[in-house]
Symmetry: C2
Subunit: 179 residues, 2 copies
DNA sequence: CTGCAAAAGCAAGCGGGTTTGCTTTAGGAT
DNA sequence: ATCCTAAAGCAAACCCGCTTGCTTTTGCAG
């Protein structure tokens, strides 16, 4: 039987925290024994649960990124997208968010399946666009939203270009052709 | 004195080839002894020249990516951008290009300096845009070109979404508002 | 409260990645 | 053609990340 509560959860959170902390202070290549030490956990527990460093990083990144920037339901597509995009912008202006995005991309192999984390996010977007269509508002495709908003924000971080405040608003306006 | 010619160059190319080959066949985490073996080179030589795996990957990725998709000078901004974007698209549809972009991003730390490889590419773009302005054509900013064209193409690869043929043309038209 | 088993801790051993001092090879200059 | 030295090769030792069999702890169910 699986046992999600109590000590298991504590260990998982402690290890995730340790991973993020080490990444943020520049210990990009910290090995499992080091992560375990910082988490106050036995290295064996980490090996048994995650298997290797890559799986651990991926799990930590997906888990922590999932908690940020939900899509609101304001009754206006513009405001829905703006609320979400501003959440993404905030995350991308924060060293934690930056390092998590970087870790996510770095641990992604070229496997064929599309990314689970992005798929769920795509479904949320689709729901917001469907709401707009149901209201009679003109709505772009999910692909356009990713091209116009997410790609520029993410690429700035990945290629170390600054994310200026107001970038999200500019990108949303550009997508919805409100110059 | 530095000695760029002859054997040094041969070793560098052999090691770069070995890195790319191993990455392409899925040996993402191949260690230096394995890379050296495939290159027919002594591991010590690799350690002495590059120091560690990360530096080696970064050097290989930057070197090989520099050789792809130059910006042509056709006398028309649309065609200049299209020629370049199609080169990028071609590269992103090729497993070698995909794996190199992935390696580049993965080995990039969050250091403050912007990326050298992208800076040079930005200057080439600026030159093409300046030519257009000199001809009296309206021209977007470099940032817009990156947002509209490079970011969507790169993000498709990094998040494992397919790069459909014709994507480059669509993105260029969208940027230059030729629906 | 008691018992069961999942998950964490412990310790020892293995294997391979990395380092280091030295030797050998081969560009490039005179 | 010859010399000089940067760069590659070699071998041995070291370090440390990882594995494994076992013991201990502790959720959670009855």
């Amino acid at each position: 039987m699986t046992r999600p509560g109590g000590r298991s959860a504590r260990v998982r959170d402690a290890v995730h925290d340790a991973v993020v902390d080490l990444l943020v202070i520049g210990e990009i290549n910290a090995a499992i024994p080091k992560i375990a030490e910082k988490a106050g956990v036995n290295p064996t527990s980490v090996y048994r649960r995650w298997g290797n460093r890559e799986q651990l990083l991926l799990d930590a990144a997906v888990t922590r990124l999932r908690e940020t920037s939900p899509i609101p339901d304001t009754g206006s597509l513009h405001d829905d997208l703006l609320g979400w995009a501003e959440g993404v912008e905030r995350s991308m202006r924060d060293p934690r968010g930056q390092i998590l995005l970087r870790a996510l991309v770095a641990t992604l192999g070229p496997e064929k399946e599309p990314l689970e984390h992005l798929r769920a996010r795509g479904e949320d977007l689709q729901a917001a666009l469907d709401r707009a269509t149901a209201r009679g508002e003109p709505a772009p495709s999910v692909e356009d939203v990713l091209d116009f908003i997410l790609a520029p924000l993410y690429l700035r971080v990945l290629f170390r270009r600054p994310v200026e405040p107001g970038t999200a608003a500019k990108l949303v306006d550009r997508l919805l052709k409100v110059p």
